[in-house]
């Protein structure tokens, strides 16, 4: 865990606490960022489209990770909070607000709704609390489906105009890539910062031993609320970006199944790790993409196969992949990555 490169000594607390520790790492980080944002100029639209989807998922999953990984609260409502963000953005844009302003506002609105559904955590604990979040997953889409259909468009939902910036219209995968990835980068850094400072420690303390945390001065309730707020805020940002990505949103897009997938991404990636959500979201989305692509390929190779057989690929791969992870790699890809990194550093002295 605490391995670091030879010759890299702490000269101050600030240095010890920094994420990026030396010049080499700074170089790599900058190169990575340049590569990240240069990608749309080389890669084809489909790859970029998949990356966009991964980016949006990453944001939602980081949020969920704050609640689940750091605070230890199961939430079955992440997709619903995304819905709040998406609808906020769509309604605001419809009302003439610039999308770029609507994006952070949507995050805040979703955060506040998250706060509302976090309130039961004052009294309800453990699994009962998870079920309280399930009611968020039931109530929020119901709300958008049935209440004030003049504003929220009811069942068919809302259509959002693509955002603009001067002459640029963000309506292609390549253009949308930039706001999405920029938000991802900001969200990743903010989450990392939260995790390593006062709030993050308080949340982990509650996760690891809620009673001891309380006895040592960390107010459980208000911190759980903060976690709910942050988690939903991230979901709201993801939702707003999703509204930009999909342009037509309706309540069916934010189903319980989606929430389950986000949970799956957290597990696969590794709970309570900064890298986990990124790896988890990427892995599950790529897996999904692979199975979706594989079905037609298989149907071409084996035309006698019934269509239904191929159709089972999606749920079965996701289900089995998740099961395998839970049994064999419960700490997720991030943990595996740490081990590989450590092994690499110690090479050739593996033992």
């Amino acid at each position: 865990m605490a391995l670091r490169l030879a010759g890299d000594f702490d000269t101050s607390y600030a240095h010890d606490m920094a994420i990026i520790r030396n010049r080499g790492q700074w170089g790599m980080t900058i190169a990575f960022l340049i590569g990240l944002f240069a990608l749309p100029f080389f890669a084809d639209g489909h790859v970029i489209g998949t990356l966009n989807l991964i980016g949006i998922s990453i944001i939602a999953v980081i949020g969920l990770n704050i609640l689940l990984g750091y605070t230890g609260q199961i939430s079955l409502g992440q997709a619903a909070f995304m819905a709040v963000g998406a609808y906020s953005a769509a309604v605001l844009v419809k009302a003439g607000v610039s999308f770029w302003l609507a994006l952070p506002i949507s995050g805040l609105v979703a955060g506040l709704v998250g706060l509302l559904f976090g309130l039961p955590s004052l009294r309800i604990k453990g699994f009962y609390l998870a079920m309280a979040t399930l009611s968020a997953q039931m109530i929020i889409p119901w709300f958008f489906r049935n209440v004030r259909t003049d504003i929220f468009g009811g069942m068919p939902g809302l259509t959002m105009q693509p955002p603009r910036l001067g002459e640029i219209v963000f309506n292609s995968q390549a253009t949308m890539y930039f706001p999405i990835m920029l938000t991802v980068v900001v969200c990743v850094i903010a989450a990392k910062n939260i995790a390593r400072t006062r709030l993050g420690r308080a949340l982990i303390a509650i996760r690891d031993n809620d009673l001891a945390a309380e006895v040592l001065g960390i107010a459980q309730f208000s911190h759980k609320l903060r976690a709910f707020f942050l988690s939903a805020l991230y979901a709201g940002l993801a939702g707003a970006l999703w509204a930009m990505y999909a342009r037509t949103i309706n309540p069916d897009q934010f189903s319980l199944l989606n929430s389950v997938w986000y949970l799956g991404m957290v597990i696969v990636g590794g709970m309570g790790s900064a890298l986990g959500p990124i790896l988890g979201a990427a892995f599950v989305r790529v897996l999904e993409e692979v199975t979706v692509q594989l079905a037609p390929v298989l149907s071409k190779l084996f035309p006698q196969l019934e269509a239904g057989l191929l159709a089972a690929l999606g749920p079965i791969t996701f289900g089995i992949a998740l099961m395998l992870f839970l049994v064999f790699e419960p700490r997720g890809l991030a943990h595996r990555w740490e081990l590989i990194k450590a092994a690499w550093r110690l090479r050739p002295f593996a033992h």
């Binding site: 309800i124 309280a132 039931m138 119901w142 749920p315 996701f318």
Partner: protein
Amino acid sequence: MNWDLFPQFLATGLLTGGIYSLIALGLVLIYKSSRVFNFAQGHLLMVGAFTTWWFSENLGWNVWLAFAVAIGVSALIGLLVERVALRPLIGQPILATVMMTLALAQTLQGAAIIVFGAYQRSLPALFPIQPLVLGDVRLKLNLALAFALAMLGFVVFVFFFRFTRAGLAMRAAAEDHQLAQSVGLSVPRIFGMAWAIASVVATMCGVLLANISGVELNLSIIALKAFPAVLFGGLESVPGAIVGGLTVGVIESLVGGLPQDPALRALHLGDIAPYIFMLIVLWFRPDGLFGLKRIERI
């Protein structure tokens, strides 16, 4: 408000609630014994219904025979699920088991498509399609009989728990795993038994439901109604499952049926009322109405 229809909706709600209760019973059985909340209960139900269909339509057996065989098969499925998916997770945090059942739900969905196909099927009628008229109240005979069967199931299970050795062993294991092991009970075997029974209960529900609404993949959705029921009644309580299920059925029916104002009806409140009601109940009784309260000690 359609107050004159109140007895009608109350009765309909109770009958539908009976089915919810039975699903809730399956959830309680597993939770009580192994502290696992089974999100795949709805999918077990769907698989059970398809299995019955497969025996009755594909192999041409009598539907009651098919039902009986399917119950046996579903017990095996329950055992298999526990052995393959849940047992490796003993000792892992609650979240892992929750995720496992969610993963299981997906896997069962895929497996059902592979084995049975994604088509809607229909079962030969177990009960005649006929009205049951009691004064002003009109009920579906098949739903009423399904309700009766569900309640009979409850009686059987209560009897099982109270008066059989296996039932006593399950109750004991549910209270304290380590203690149960210390007196020589095999806790893994009891977990397996709980899953087998829950799977059997699910199949019963599945067939009763399928008999009313047909066999299809979406049958699993019905479990979403049982979740508030079981939380409302308390996760560990068999009577809670009955009360919770019936309450959810009644609330859904009354809230959905009573309002007369079209604007109010358009809100489709019946769908969401059980969840709102659950939140309210949990606020005042954080462990449900009949859930066990524990004294926390550090």
